[in-house]
Symmetry: C2
């Protein structure tokens, strides 16, 4: 029997995890694996780019989990700098173009994995392609930005966007000695939090010397005679800039899949079942930043670009392609980040997410510390918790604080997955010792307060 | 209507939380609250004593959450230095003795809360009462030890016991400039872990310059002409000592309750229902270190002396006494600690716990890091996970490592409470960003490995 052929489009986390996992299940005599990557790198941590740009991570290659050579050693026919330009679903083949030679060829498949990732949102405004204006999606972007910093005529950086990438890049620019201004469209930075929690991030960034301008609608970029950026303009102001970093988020890279007639959701991502099989296509799987995922709390589909999901998708796809079994049940919307020593975390639904799905809720916000108050290094932490009206089901948690704030959100992530009520959360047996927590963990304090609010609201 | 009277025996976490919470529900015109405390202090953090002795916490009073005066301001009739010597259950009254005047009197109650705590195990061996030999259960013990350090003729400390208190006191003695030897009866320190994980603690303590002697059965203490300790003897060796710290664990302080005919369990603790009402007694509650608690994983009763449980018990009792409603569903056995920068955590069952209740299991142990491997400060962490054979139910997790190891156990604590399988754990949506976790959190890596072991064992 001739070997089956698996074709993988995209050589980053989801695609190469799928390929590697499929290889573990089935050897080269059983399964032929061809993977196409249009860029120069495979299996790298895009999430690490801000720390490389900021200097915490010394080398670009530190971010690469597995090189093309390492993949090839595992009998994966990896074709770098080769872009798939068409998927012929009926003919079970893909057309790929060698980006150096320009040569195109068709490759047939028995099974196909689409892992084309996401692309940064780049506003269509005057000057956005100017020298000195940088996205930070790929290693190439990171290198271009680092080179640009060396050439920058001054030390003024403007970061457009105040989400995860925006605040992480603000920290990176600060560490590189730049004066940093963050332009933020919304009412507060970190729109992945409720505005009352975003305000805490704003205040902390002020304290770090980062200027955050909220409600700023960018209208364009001004350039000098050499074509390099000199300023960013908004509807109201002009912000001089020697370098501009775009951190406005990403959108699923699904033009190829869409053109092939594969099903896309309302966020532009591919639609899959829990085995990560593309809906209606027995032999096509998709995973990573190009798919939509089920939000287990709201029951809706979302698009979340995050390496940890991409890796899980890859594992599930690889098992299923290789003849094993795996499913990705969904997400609860956990995300953590930091700006300098300020930790930011969220999971589940924000107020507006709950409203959007018609869930009535109560909230409580508490201030506590990450260690016992008397223990050295105890630093403040604010926890906001949402619970469903009447049922008391936990709906979401947001945490902003210093050491120990970010990963505390995992408690809530597990509780959300288990569909616990906040009453159940109050009784959780969490780790306690003075260096690690007050005797009531901040998450428990928040749960007690919101639980009381649930009871009060229910009796009203 | 005359006010009801609530009598509370014990002025620490459980007792005073109960009193305070009951007061929130019912004012002084409705409920008369009398609390007896035989010592000098109320509501203090016994868990903080090692850090006070070690110098991390500057003042004894930093460990006191609420003073007698603060309790009295809340209309609690608190009688300090007054020891309850008898409970007359049929007569609904307690006999208390003023420890200064020696005067005894009876106080009647409508409702009674027993929160008599635990007492340290003090082996009945020659010389254990000598000067320079110290327990660390109470603030008084801590002060006596600190005074003793000043009087110590040399700088050799012997710590008897290598559980939580033992290792924390080893760190404290090290910080005070002592040469520290820990004598440990078991095969490895931290018998709350499996020996393979305890070995990692042993190795780390070696690296810190703490000498740990395992399999050491203490036979007595030698004293000098001044009556002060000079050495600790074991079945094999003699260890010179200028100060000795006993950290051998605690046992429920239930002599009073036992004499009154109240029901005690096999660990010597009071038996209660989930509302913390003493079994068979409508108007008596008990909580804190003097009760046994339900282990939700094994289904057995255990005795666990831990401030966080005591506080929860107090809240529940106070609500029930005050006319509200609360239950304490049980524990999963979570405990965290540290020795210098080594973090130690456990939750659920060890191998021998699972064996003791007839659960067949598989295990997996993985090494990972608390941050992305390329992120500065990424430090090693070992995670061991137990899952039930066939069903794959998570049974327990042990973590030993540096920064970020201890509180990661909370993920497992919540998953145990929700009775998740390790397969479900592999899919958890945990916080990921390079400064906080590798793309696969160490707990997820362990879950994947043990999940594979479950499948393999099931197909064998």
């Amino acid at each position: 029997m001739a070997a089956e052929r698996l074709v993988v489009i995209g050589g980053d986390a989801a695609g190469m995890s799928a390929a590697s996992q499929a290889r573990r299940f089935r050897g080269p005599d059983e399964l032929d694996i061809v993977a196409f990557e249009r860029g120069h790198f495979t299996s790298y941590s895009a999430c690490g780019i801000p720390y490389w740009v900021g200097g915490d991570v010394g080398q670009r290659d530190d971010l690469i989990a597995r090189t093309p050579e390492e993949h090839r050693e595992r009998a994966i026919d990896l074709r770098m700098r080769t872009e798939v330009t068409e998927i012929d679903v009926a003919g079970q083949r893909v057309r790929a173009v060698d980006r150096d030679s320009g040569e195109a060829s068709w490759t047939g498949y028995d099974k196909l994995v689409i892992a084309t990732g996401a692309r940064p949102v780049r506003p269509e405004l005057p000057g956005m392609d100017a020298a000195g204006v940088h996205g930070v999606q790929t290693l190439g972007d990171g290198q271009a930005l680092l080179d640009s910093l060396d050439r920058a005529p001054g030390r003024r950086a403007v970061v457009v966007g105040a989400g995860y990438i925006g605040v992480e890049m603000a920290e990176a620019m600060l560490k590189r000695g730049f004066e940093v201004t963050v332009l933020n469209r919304g009412p507060q930075p970190m729109s992945t939090l409720d505005p009352d929690m975003g305000r805490l991030v704003h205040e902390a960034m002020d304290g770090m010397g980062i200027t955050t301008v909220s409600g700023a609608e960018v209208t364009g970029v001004r350039t000098g005679p050499d074509g390099r950026v000199t300023a960013v303009t908004t509807d109201g102001e002009t912000y001089p800039a020697d370098v501009v970093v775009l951190g406005i988020g990403v959108t699923p890279e699904t033009a190829l899949a869409g053109a092939a007639g594969l099903p896309l959701g309302s966020h532009g991502g591919l639609l899959t079942d829990p085995s990560m099989r593309v809906m209606g296509h027995q032999n096509i799987w998709a995973g990573g930043d190009c798919v939509e995922v089920l939000d287990l709390v709201s029951g809706r589909l979302r698009h979340i670009a995050l390496g940890t999901h991409a890796n899980k998708h890859g594992q599930v796809i690889g098992a299923n392609v290789g003849g094993g079994y795996g499913t990705f049940p969904g997400v609860v919307g956990t995300a953590v980040s930091k700006v300098c020593d300020l930790e930011i975390a969220r999971t589940g639904l924000r107020e507006k997410d709950a409203e959007a799905v018609g869930l009535r809720f109560v909230t409580a916000t508490v201030k506590s510390t990450g260690r016992a108050g008397y223990y050295p290094g105890a630093r403040p932490m604010t926890v906001k918790m949402l619970a469903e009206y009447r049922t008391g089901r936990l709906l979401g948690v947001q945490i902003v604080g210093r050491e120990g704030a970010a990963k505390r959100v995992d408690i809530a992530a597990v509780a959300l997955t288990a569909r616990m009520t906040v009453d159940q959360v109050t009784a959780l047996d969490l780790g306690y010792a003075p260096p690690f927590s007050p005797v009531w963990d901040p998450v428990l304090v928040a749960a007690r307060k919101v639980n009381a609010a649930v009871r009060e609201a229910g009796s009203a």
